[in-house]
């Protein structure tokens, strides 16, 4: 890009090169000093790590393995968290289920966050006809029967997922059986993500509308900053609080939604399972064997609790206002 030295002030150049560097490194520095957030990060990392390595652990490798003499057993040396009505080890099932639940949470939240923030911030910032159009699209998608869309999308995508699985097998040389349950679910995850950005977009729009009418945005406009830069640098960082909070709220809700879909025959199928499915199965046996509900719920809650602390820490770290205090 050609710049005329007379117009482009030196100050703008300095902020350009330094702000990009300091926003994130500052945030990381602040995050590292936040004990709750670092705790959350550590717990989250260990749960993810456990879920990743579980197929290689000697006694936990097979979640479908039935120990028939020890059905419904309480926690013991052999089954650390007991076993279920079919004699399957609960800890192994939880860790295997976590692989799917965490994948669901990450993919759908990323998809819905990206679309939601983009649509919401453009609608809130531009306003007028653009806003009306985007928000009416949101209204339509809200009212569209979600289930039908998911059913159609997964039927449509079935052929493509098989091709995709083949491609991954060719590329990595992994066994087809071991990755098929995951790759087969990706279209479903994308479908969930592509339809769960609606609330985020409405919340972001409301915050952006409020921010756009503030004096500092007027100032940014009169300085001649581009709209893109105003949005990315000055508006979205100021709306980060509700965005982070809603993202941490989306993760559990999509994990549970996955369970609902699985019961309708659309999601994860036995012998594979997920935290949502384990919690649902546990809820059905709440009175006869409450441990089947308690242990999966504990993992679920621990993950979300640490995500929350991490999210709150991230919010504080990224908050442009907190640097003043």
């Amino acid at each position: 890009m050609e710049k005329s030295p007379a117009i482009s002030p030196l100050v703008a150049d300095v902020s350009e090169s330094e702000a990009g560097h300091s926003l994130w490194s500052d945030a990381w520095l602040r995050l590292r000093h936040n004990r709750a957030a670092m705790c959350g990060l550590a717990i989250l990392a260990s749960i993810i790590l456990l879920c990743l390595i579980v197929p290689f652990l000697p006694i936990l490798a097979d979640p479908a393995l039935q120990d028939l003499p020890n059905k419904n057993s309480p926690p013991s040396a052999k089954h650390w968290m007991g076993s279920d009505q079919l004699g399957r080890d609960l800890l192994s099932r939880i860790l295997h289920g976590g692989r799917i639940s965490i994948l669901v949470g990450l993919i759908t939240t990323m998809v819905s966050l990206t679309i939601g923030v983009a649509v919401g911030s453009v609608a809130g910032y531009v306003g007028g006809k653009t806003d009306a159009f985007l928000m009416r699209v949101v209204d339509i998608l809200y009212s569209l029967p979600f289930l039908i869309v998911v059913i159609l999308f997964s039927t449509l995508a079935k052929g493509y997922t098989n091709d995709f699985t083949d491609w991954v097998v060719d590329l990595t040389g992994w066994k087809r059986d071991s990755i098929a349950p995951f790759t087969g679910l990706i279209p479903l995850f994308v479908a969930i993500g592509a339809l769960s950005w609606l609330s985020i977009s409405r919340i972001v729009r409301a915050s952006v509308q409020d921010l756009s009418s503030r004096e500092f945005i007027e100032a940014a406009k009169s300085l001649g900053l581009t709209h893109r830069r105003i949005l990315l640098r000055h508006i979205i960082p100021n709306a980060i609080g509700p965005i982070v909070v809603y993202a941490t709220l989306t993760i559990p809700s999509v994990m549970l939604f996955e369970a609902t879909l699985s019961f309708l025959g659309l999601g994860v199928q036995p012998p594979y399972s997920s935290w949502g499915i384990l919690i649902k199965e546990g809820a059905d046996r709440m009175l006869s064997n409450p441990l089947l509900l308690i242990f999966p719920s504990l993992f679920f809650i621990a993950t979300l609790l640490s995500l929350n602390f991490l999210g709150d820490g991230l919010r504080d770290a990224l908050d442009p206002k907190s640097s003043k205090d």
Partner: protein, 314 residues
């Protein structure tokens, strides 16, 4: 005033377009499903199926069917259920089931607002104190525990253990039968609301005008109620529109736990069988409610935010 009327008129037009697009999309999506209302677990003889298809006009080209449906719906005729409640008028089914879901949703909304927003405000004021941690931990439980866990627990505790409320059965006008399902439905949204309110309040409490108010020596509760709430509730109110519409659309889980004759389970059955008329009716009703709820939310936001009003009229 004139401004206001023009806004309402333009939103009505937009709403009509939304419903038209929504209905059209729903019609074609349902017809694209890999199954249809005339497929049964039992093998239906071909001639029977053909008769049924003829009866419901399924033998005509899709576009002709669409035209017929559009004409009927525009003249106020939603048709009758093809499969789930075979032969019954959809408008009749809605007239029975919808008031149940609406009442349930309204009570749940009141519960969600009266728990969620005060809790969020208290958490924001007492940020990083034990009050904050306690409220946020409770909210997290509310978010993590799905209704199929909370519902039976509440039923067991309030219904079975304490014996305060009947565990199941819906009786219109008898608030005690409506309380437990509404509480189950409302607690989840209360948890969401408390977290969003806390986040929104924290954004505002940082700002200069709050500092000014404090410097003036204004009383704390007046600062919160009069100055901070207006901005602090922005995310929560944006969430309330769709959340309300979601709550009245009925929940299969809650309806089956507490035996509520609502709209949710009918709708799921309609989707599972591809019963187009019984899908279309609730979808259009739900769509109108979404349009209305989001319009109200936008109005409340204009009312709460003077700067936004200035921008809108400029």
């Amino acid at each position: 005033m004139k401004e206001m009327l023009r806004t309402i008129a333009s939103r009505l037009t937009q709403g009509a377009i939304v419903l038209f697009v929504l209905g059209t999309l729903t019609f074609f999506l349902v017809h694209a499903l890999p199954y249809g209302p005339f497929q049964d677990e039992k093998a239906v003889p071909d001639h029977v199926r053909e008769r049924l298809e003829q009866l419901h006009g399924y033998d005509k080209p899709l576009l002709t069917q669409y035209g017929l449906r559009l004409k009927n719906i525009l003249s106020g005729n939603l048709g009758s259920s093809i499969k789930v409640m075979e032969g019954r008028e959809v408008s009749e089914i809605l007239r029975q089931a919808f008031p149940v879901s609406l009442t349930l949703g309204l009570i749940a909304l009141v519960i969600a607002i009266s728990i969620g927003i005060p809790a969020g405000i208290m958490a924001a004021i007492g940020r990083n104190t034990s009050v904050d941690y306690l409220i946020m931990a409770a909210a997290l439980f509310g978010i993590c525990l799905p209704s199929f866990v909370i519902g039976p627990m509440l039923a067991e505790f309030f219904g079975g253990h304490l014996g305060w409320f009947p565990v199941s059965g819906w009786n219109f006008g008898d608030l005690s039968t409506m309380f437990l399902p509404a509480l189950t439905l409302g607690l989840g949204s209360a948890a969401y609301l408390s977290r969003l309110t806390r986040a929104g309040m924290l954004e505002v409490l940082h700002q200069d005008f709050i500092r000014t108010a404090r410097a003036k020596g204004q009383k704390n509760h007046i600062i919160i109620l009069r100055h901070a709430l207006r901005g602090g509730l922005i995310p929560s109110i944006a969430f309330l529109g769709p959340a309300f519409a979601g709550m009245i659309s009925g929940s299969v889980v809650i309806e089956s736990i507490f035996e509520v004759p609502g709209i949710g389970s009918l709708f799921i059955k309609a989707i599972e069988t591809g019963d187009e008329t019984l899908i279309m009716g609730p979808v259009l009703l739900y769509g109108s409610l979404i349009v209305l709820a989001n319009f109200l939310v936008d109005l409340v936001q204009l009312w709460l935010n003077p700067r936004l009003r200035a921008r809108a009229s400029a």
